[in-house]
């Protein structure tokens, strides 16, 4: 029996390959994700290890709160002297590692993210200069060798670095390797003296860390204890060098966990769709092999032997798919990296890491998914009566049993309930997402089970114009599609999943866009904003100051974002910083209780609370908070805003004057700077003047008017949207393979029939048309089902968000384009099967047994 199964696979290599392909893409995505994240992880871990290889004890700022995004406040430089005096310390040095932008000779940034590192004395410094020398003076700079080589720098060039304080031009004196490699994790690093580094990253008098080496014979652990004692009471964490490397690696692992999970989910979707295709393929091949299987039963094979034979086939196909998927995953890694790079996530590129875990998961997943998908057809195979070996003719299409419909409805209802729980429940983001996912899977399965009922009606609707246009070909295409509704439905269902998800995110993004547009229109009372070019970044306070000095500028108002921790709250609270004196002139605040006059009465501890923060907040409430700077403060609510219910730019948390943010939160960078022209000023001229000022000293900042602000938000949304499209494309491709597979198999099945048609006079072109139209009908069924499901999902999710001002909009044009695209994709999928059908030799086809 084993031999029969394996020989069978070998005898039809093309069919086996096509079936395996359904799962290959899903496995490739999963393998690729693991390889990518493992590789990134490893390269960073290597960097951390290398960086602390000369350090026996490392002193870093203590985390203020586990959940804060912002870094804790840097160390005070005076700690360095204290540490040096500890018994057993051989040498100690301050470290700076900050974000800057390194400019190429032509002015464009070398990368999305670059860094500046302060030169440290031996044994701490890991950069070794291989060309030129290390920087000694305050206006000298070194670069990592990779950046130096890649961008045509020469020793003696003046390199522009844009940091906190604006742009500086430094003389390039050397290129260095980081340990053994030409750059740490592929990231560009500028190397300067400590004071220069401090000034570039805005940390005058401060340090990001202190590296300490122990005297001969003293263990790092012992020294750590002594240093801890000496620094008791300071907001620092003291670790040995290796502990520090490990701690950084652990933090990184946490950050990447989210990314990895997100990518794995898309891989899972591709596998889910692949399972549909496997199920369908096996259903068809089992039906086609009825006589063969009946013969085996006739000769004495038991049901279990037949079951094992089919499952073995599935396992072998799954294994092939897993192996190919692993290779595919490797090939996918650069593509994934490119995709993520396109939305601004700069990831290092080093040799790929293929962990054992990745191989095991790939093998398991491929085999398990294929076997599970093949179970129902395998069970069906066992029910073939031996006597079927003696009967001729095609098996009749199985009728939809009552049981099947009931299960379908139950699945849909259960799935919908689970989705509702996920949306309206109070669980954390992670488990809510998982609940939503499980519910959606159930709904998809339920609809797929129910869909055979819908095939005939939809095919008639879609087929009627086809018949009109394509005559008998159209008619036959429709008949073929409805001949075995279950088969057509499952093929269409595979497409339905991908289309539903695409429709869902499209509608959601459109709604998001619309809500944001409305919010901007409502509140934007100024003329321009000044913000970071990248849209996610911040500008130093010097930018607002510079803008204020430009002739023709009337009101300038900064807005900042940070966070705080309020005791007993599950998550951190969003904090928006405003300038109470100027905000009302550039932004129309939406008040729940209070008015613009309240702003003048905020005093030293007054703040505003938005409905997004708490619906039960009242004026006079005291709010005690822990800030990212480590300070404990208490504010008093003096007014209530209603920004949050309309996607307001300032909504979602507490609104606090910028002076307090600077003093208590250490937050001095601006997210936006709103400005208004002075009365009577020429807007275009003033804007030009501002643009010139920025280009000169703050090349990372940019002016935007209201429309451009909306465009920028749209741009950000679209970036993520296209990323999701690209990731979903995988699933769509799998479902197209499914259509190819089903068509090829059914053409094989209908060989005699097609021979008859050709003998009776149908041309090759007409035969091709039949196949093509069948594919179009199938994909349109899938697209329409997907459209309806996607809309339903969008409606479902918009309910709980309505309170936040989210309104659903239907981008009809895009949706219509999607449906047309599906039809075209169906045509594409039918190209090869159609050609095969047309090439049938008439006589051989008729003689086909």
């Amino acid at each position: 029996m084993k031999r029969v199964a394996l020989r069978g696979l070998r005898a039809r290599p093309l069919r086996t390959a096509l079936t395996a392909l359904a799962v290959v893409l899903g496995v490739a995505m999963i393998a690729g994700t693991y390889i990518l994240t493992d590789t990134i992880n490893r390269s960073f871990v290597d960097v951390f290890a290398q960086a602390s290889s000369g350090t026996d004890v490392a002193i870093v700022p203590e985390k203020v709160d586990e959940d804060f995004f912002s870094d804790p406040p840097p160390l005070d430089q005076r700690l360095l002297r204290q540490v040096s005096k500890v018994d057993g310390v051989d040498s100690a040095s301050g470290a700076i590692f900050g974000s800057v932008s390194i400019r190429k000779p032509d002015g464009t940034p070398v990368a999305n993210e670059s860094f500046v590192s302060a030169l440290q004395p031996a044994p701490f410094e890991q950069f070794r200069f291989v060309e030129g020398r290390a920087p000694r003076a305050e206006d000298e700079i070194g670069l990592d060798q990779a950046t130096f080589d890649d961008h045509g720098f020469k020793l003696g060039d003046r390199v522009k670095i844009v940091g906190e304080q604006g742009a500086r031009s430094l003389e390039l004196v050397g290129a260095a390797r980081f340990g053994d490699i030409s750059s740490p994790a592929g990231l560009p690093v500028a190397i300067t003296t400590l004071p220069t580094a401090q000034s570039l990253s805005g940390r005058e008098g401060e340090l990001d860390g202190i590296s300490v080496s122990a005297a001969d014979g003293l263990s790092p652990a012992l020294l750590r204890g002594r240093v801890r004692g000496a620094l008791r009471g300071e907001p620092v964490a003291v670790r040995t060098g290796s502990e520090d490397a490990a701690a950084q690696a652990a933090d990184l692992e946490e950050d990447f966990g989210f990314l990895r999970t997100a990518l794995l989910v898309f891989g899972g979707i591709a596998l889910f769709v692949g399972a549909f295709v496997i199920y369908n393929t096996f259903s068809i091949t089992v039906a086609q092999r009825t006589r063969e299987l009946a013969l085996l039963r006739m000769i004495g094979a038991t049901r279990r032997q037949v079951l094992r034979s089919v499952v073995l086939e599935a396992a072998v196909i799954g294994l092939i798919a897993s192996l190919l998927g692993l290779l595919g995953g490797l090939a996918l890694v650069p593509a994934l990296r490119g995709l993520l790079g396109a939305i601004g996530a700069e990831l290092p590129s080093t040799a790929s890491v293929i962990a054992t875990r990745t191989i095991v998961v790939a093998l398991l997943v491929g085999v398990v998914v294929t076997v599970i998908a093949s179970l129902v057809p395998a069970l069906r195979a066992t029910r073939i009566a031996p006597i079927a070996a003696l009967r001729d003719g095609l098996t009749a299409a199985p009728r939809a049993g009552r049981a099947r419909l009931v299960i379908a409805l139950l699945l849909c209802v259960a799935g919908a309930v689970v989705v509702a729980i996920g949306l309206l429940g109070d669980a954390s983001a992670g488990s809510a997402a998982a609940t939503l996912g499980a519910g959606s899977v159930a709904v998809f399965l339920g609809v797929a089970l129910f869909s055979p009922q819908l095939v005939r009606p939809i095919a008639s609707i879609v087929g009627a114009p086809m018949e009109r246009l394509a005559g008998v070909s159209g008619r036959l295409a429709r008949e073929n599609a409805t001949r075995n509704p279950a088969r057509t439905a499952v093929t269409a269902a595979a497409l339905m999943v991908g289309v539903a998800l695409v429709v869902f995110v499209t509608i959601f993004a459109a709604g998001l866009q619309g809500s944001i547009d409305r919010a901007v229109d409502r509140a934007f009372a100024g003329d321009l904003t000044v913000g970071a070019k990248s849209g996610f970044g911040e500008t130093p306070p010097a930018v607002a100051a510079a803008v204020r000095r430009v002739q023709g500028v009337g009101a300038v108002s900064s807005v900042r974002f940070t966070e705080g921790r309020i005791a007993k709250e599950k998550s951190t609270t969003q904090v928006v910083g405003i300038d109470p004196r100027t905000i009302a002139r550039t932004y129309k605040l939406r008040w729940k209780q209070g008015s613009d006059r309240t702003l003048a009465r905020l005093g030293t501890d007054g703040i505003l609370a938005d409905t997004g923060y708490s619906k039960s907040a009242r004026i006079g409430d005291r709010v005690p908070m822990l800030t990212p700077a480590g300070k404990r403060v208490t504010y008093v609510i003096r007014g209530l805003l209603d920004e949050g219910s309309e996607f307001g730019l300032l909504g979602g948390g507490l609104v606090i004057p910028n002076e307090r943010l600077a003093a208590d939160f250490d937050a001095t960078d601006d997210a936006f700077v709103f400005l208004r022209y002075a009365p009577g000023a020429d807007g275009a001229q003033v804007r030009d003047a501002i643009d010139r000022t920025l280009a000169q000293s703050f090349p990372d900042a940019q002016t935007r008017d209201r429309e451009q602000v909306k465009e920028q938000q749209a741009g950000q949304i679209n970036q993520v949207l296209y990323l999701i499209y690209a990731l979903l494309a995988l699933s769509l491709i799998v479902s197209l393979f499914g259509i190819v597979n089903t068509l090829a198999l059914s053409i094989f099945e209908r060989t005699r029939e097609l021979g008859l048609l050709r003998a009776v006079g149908m041309s090759r072109r007409q035969v091709k048309r039949i196949v093509r139209l069948e594919a179009v009908i199938t994909s349109l069924i899938g697209a329409l089902l997907g459209l309806v499901l996607g809309v339903l999902f969008a409606l479902a999710i918009s309910r709980p968000l309505e309170a936040d001002g989210f309104r659903l909009t239907f981008p009809v044009g895009t949706l219509v384009a999607l449906v047309i695209g599906a039809a075209l994709a169906g045509m594409l999928a039918s190209l090869w099967p159609a050609r095969r059908a047309a090439r049938l030799d008439v006589l051989r086809a008729l003689a086909y047994e």
């Binding site: 031999r3 013969l295 006739m298 000769i299 004495g300």
Partner: protein, 247 residues
């Protein structure tokens, strides 16, 4: 192995009925058939289309369930058996040859030949296998796939397979239906030899009088009943019998 080893009847049916459908539209394929198939004999079953001959064989082989009456094969009451036992019965004690599509296309002739044993997890006795292959004349074709064999050769492989587990009875359903006269003769010779040399029992359904002439006994069915049950004579005599039975 006590069952019916030496009994003269190897398969017997008692008042066998097989009805398809219900109510006024029902069709009685068999309307009360009682026959005894003798051990070690070559029995031919003939009849016009719709006479029930194939149905009778299916029921005798345990491939179908009667709506009335019973079947006893090699001492076993078939109706008592569950699917597993029935499957074992087919594997070990019954051999099948049909008109077409007897062989698995992905296996060689030899692999097809020993398939029942492979399924049972048993190895064939080498000497027995060799003599069987020789007897059917396929010594130089053993590694060929069915697509590389002529119709007659395929049928011979099928017969060899039917014989490989030394079954109690071999059922052949129109074994020469797709063959030309030469190949037919070869196949029928083989079946005859199976009975004469290997002491097999063969039950053959056919519509061809010259094929039935190879048999020892002739059963003719008409309208679901036995119309004739005698010694099989020459082809001409058989034709006369058929004419007498009617269209």
């Amino acid at each position: 192995m006590l069952h019916g080893m030496t009994a003269p009847t190897i398969v017997s049916t008692t008042d066998l009925h097989r009805r398809y459908g219900e109510g006024p539209a029902a069709v009685d394929a068999l309307a009360g058939v009682s026959v005894d198939i003798a051990r070690g004999a070559f029995t031919a079953i003939m009849g016009a289309s719709g006479s029930g001959k194939s149905t009778l064989m299916h029921l005798m082989a345990g491939l179908d369930t009667p709506t009335g009456g019973s079947v006893r094969l090699d001492g076993v009451e078939i109706a008592d058996l569950d699917d597993k036992r029935l499957t074992e019965l087919r594997r070990d004690r019954v051999g099948f040859v049909f008109q077409a599509f007897n062989l698995l296309p992905v296996l060689t002739a030899e692999e097809n030949l020993v398939l029942p044993l492979t399924i049972a997890g048993r190895k064939p006795d080498a000497a027995w296998l060799e003599s069987l292959i020789e007897a059917v004349g396929l010594g130089d074709r053993r590694t060929h796939r069915p697509s590389e064999l002529s119709g007659g050769q395929q049928q011979r492989v099928a017969i060899a397979r039917a014989l490989v587990s030394k079954p109690a009875v071999v059922f052949a359903d129109e074994p020469t239906g797709n063959l030309d006269s030469n190949a037919s003769a070869e196949v029928l010779d083989l079946l005859r030899r199976a009975v004469d040399e290997f002491e097999q029992t063969v039950v053959m359904v056919t519509h061809d009088a010259s094929a039935a002439a190879y048999a020892d006994r002739l059963i003719v069915l008409a309208d679901g009943r036995v119309a004739h049950d005698t010694v099989a004579g020459s082809a001409d005599e058989i034709l006369d019998v058929m004419k007498a039975v009617g269209p």
